[in-house]
Amino acid sequence: MTARQMAAAVAGIERAGAYYLFTLTEPGLGADFRPGQFAAVAVGGEQTSMLLRRCFSIHRADSDVMQLVIAGHGKGTRWLVRQAVGAVLDVVTPLGRPFPLPAIDPALPAHARAAPTPATGSAVGGSAAAALGAPPPATGSAAGRSAAAPDPVRSACVLVGGGYGSAPLFALSDRLQARGHPVHFVLGAATKDRLFGVDQAKAFAASVTVMTDDGSAGRQGLVSDALPGLLTANAAETVYACGPMGMLYAVTEIATAAGVRAYCAVEESMACGIGVCMTCVLPVVWPDGRTRMTRSCTDGPVFDGSLVRWSDVGTVPADCVGAMGLGA
């Protein structure tokens, strides 16, 4: 993986319900992108008083174009969505670990990575490479398939998106379908205008289930209400999810109960996006069985959901390595 700091031009900003579809262009911008990775964008211009980059999961990208989905609720994102076409932004991308694809994807052997690659990271980063990949108990069906003899009948995948958290699932869906996996979407939001990508999904997915809190679109309820039935009906073997922490927690519980692996992209707030500031941490179980406060930028944002201590996010669990002696 190679991330670069680039000057990218705004090519388009379109309304998409409550959100904005934000398109950037620059030669090579999306060349190394893999679904689940993110971009860190500087906001406010050269004399900005907003020091922290804004991080967005990448909706779609090809070699010269990258699309992000931006809510425009904060002052930094409001500045972004008010930019004119042609404005040049400072973008660092692609960052973070992508969604591992089932079976023959090169990302999957990352599970088996025993040691950090030489040029990369700290002990934390390196070990978490293994943490991300520790095979969960009882499943591992996808991992078990040989790259040399791929199963001609691909297992179904269920993609769960909450609000604009669905953004990174579309590039993922493209890759899964290209490899022959039937893809089923579950898209949920509080209201109809806060859904993202329903029409896109309907154009190519095997099925699309829409859930809203108020029933203004699809069925009334939560994505987690729809998930168990979908897993069973389609004999799904992998769930991919992105959205609020509470949703990811529920998705992981349902998937684990069904013996299905859940890969979750977390939306922790980040300051640097490159692994140096230690603000975006959450409690994750490592291969040695111990919990460490783990960076979501470089060790995530995609985690095996069964390894994240969802109910402890926002806290430092008492059994976390180094949890004693808080003070400084």
Binding site: A3, S49, M278
Partner: protein, 393 residues
């Protein structure tokens, strides 16, 4: 893992280096200034340790340099300052740990870290193998903990044979005294001259004499000079100024404090005037004590301001979060700024502003721009400094 390469930054990071040469590698550590073509000797000396240039990372803003090495070669910096390390592994605070503020941010990380043994076994060895000079920042909850960490570090220095100014050496130790003393109701060491001195004395005693000890001072005190004096009297070879200021943000939507830890350390360009003031006061009171200036540096001209106030080296911190290539860009910009002002040597500029201002009552006389005799005057033409201020080109 992710490699981050400098793309468009390459031109501004090494601004004006038309031949594509990096501002390093010269045997005498002189650096070509792209804008003027002049050559500036950027060497600096900190309590007997000579560094090829005065620009470092700031503690807690660069981990141990590995991530930034994917953006620029960290051995090109004067030194990499590692995140403050404690004796044992430490999980840090709950999240949220960060809040953006105007031209700055609050952090409440809580010194998450792997502990001194793991630092020695992994990151310090990586820095040594990489040929980068390390400044090791240490933190503790008691005088005894500081002493134990320093002892482990002393063992590592003796064992590895790295000390002094050699590439890959532990150049010096920076003592982060902005920690609560668990044995004194959480009173912060840096806010009490006796406690600060006790920490410095204990650390100094555990380290080889040739490894300088710098105490990093907090600006959250009534008289920073009195704390600085106490540290020097206790054996500090130099001072780092400043640490973060304690601040707080309340989220007006949730109507609760934004940080899980309630308060946090304020850093970034917002605090630069406080850093300049503290460095100025310390250098005026202790002119023979080397100072590492830190606080709010975003550009080479910001760094110059701290140098003019009396800093013999500078650290770039929070700005890294905005621009991961900032430290090496600041080095290039500082080199240019010195050349533009006619300095042949970085060290000639240290504390230079004190030479011009004689007393507060005399105002702030400006150098005569037509005078070609003084180093400050030689390149100040009508198109000189005014076109430089704040240019992130």
């Amino acid at each position: 893992m992710t490699e981050i390469r400098s793309g468009h930054g390459a031109d501004h990071r090494r601004r004006g280096d038309a031949n594509g040469r990096r501002p390093t590698g010269h045997p005498e550590h002189t650096y070509d200034s792209g804008s003027s073509g002049a050559v500036v000797d950027m060497t600096t000396s900190l309590a007997g340790v000579e560094l090829p240039n005065p620009v470092m990372t700031a503690s807690g803003c660069a981990a141990a340099g590995r991530e930034l090495d994917q953006v620029f070669p960290v051995d090109e910096l004067g030194a990499v300052v590692t995140k403050s390390i404690m004796l044992a592994p430490r999980a840090g605070r709950a999240t949220p740990r960060m809040a953006e503020t105007p031209s700055g941010m609050l952090n409440s990380i809580g010194l998450q870290g792997q502990g001194i043994d793991q630092l020695c076994a992994s990151d310090l060895r990586w820095l040594r193998d990489r040929g980068a000079r390390a400044v090791v920042s240490i933190a503790g909850g008691s005088v005894e903990e500081y002493a134990k960490i320093a002892g482990r570090l002393g063992d590592e220095i003796s064992r590895s044979g790295t000390e002094g100014a050699k590439d890959g050496a532990i150049a010096l130790v920076e003592v982060n005294i902005s920690c609560p003393n668990v044995e004194d109701r959480g009173q912060v060491f840096a806010c009490d001259p006796v406690a600060a001195g006790a920490v410095v004395e204990a650390v100094r005693a555990e380290l080889p004499g040739r490894v300088p000890v710098f105490a990093k001072l907090s600006p959250d005190v009534t008289d920073v000079v009195s704390i600085g004096r106490a540290c020097v009297a206790a054996g500090a070879d130099g001072l780092s100024a400043i640490n973060t200021l304690l601040g707080m943000v309340i989220d007006v939507d949730s109507m609760r404090p934004a940080l899980a830890g309630l308060t946090g350390g304020l850093s970034g360009p917002a605090i630069r005037p406080v850093a300049v003031r503290c460095i100025w006061q310390l250098h005026a009171a202790l002119p023979d004590v080397p100072i590492i200036g830190v606080g709010g540096i975003k550009t080479g001209l910001d760094a110059l301001e701290l140098v003019l106030a009396g800093a013999s080296a500078v650290q770039v911190g929070t700005t890294i979060f905005h621009d991961p290539g900032a430290p090496i860009r600041v080095l290039a910009e500082l080199t240019d700024a010195l050349a533009a002002r006619g300095f042949a040597r970085f060290t000639d500029c240290v504390g230079h502003a004190h030479h011009i201002v004689r007393s507060p009552h005399e105002g702030h006389p400006h150098p005569d721009l037509s005078d070609e005799g003084g180093p400050h005057a030689s390149r100040f033409g009508p198109n000189g400094p005014s076109t430089q201020r704040g240019e992130p080109t």
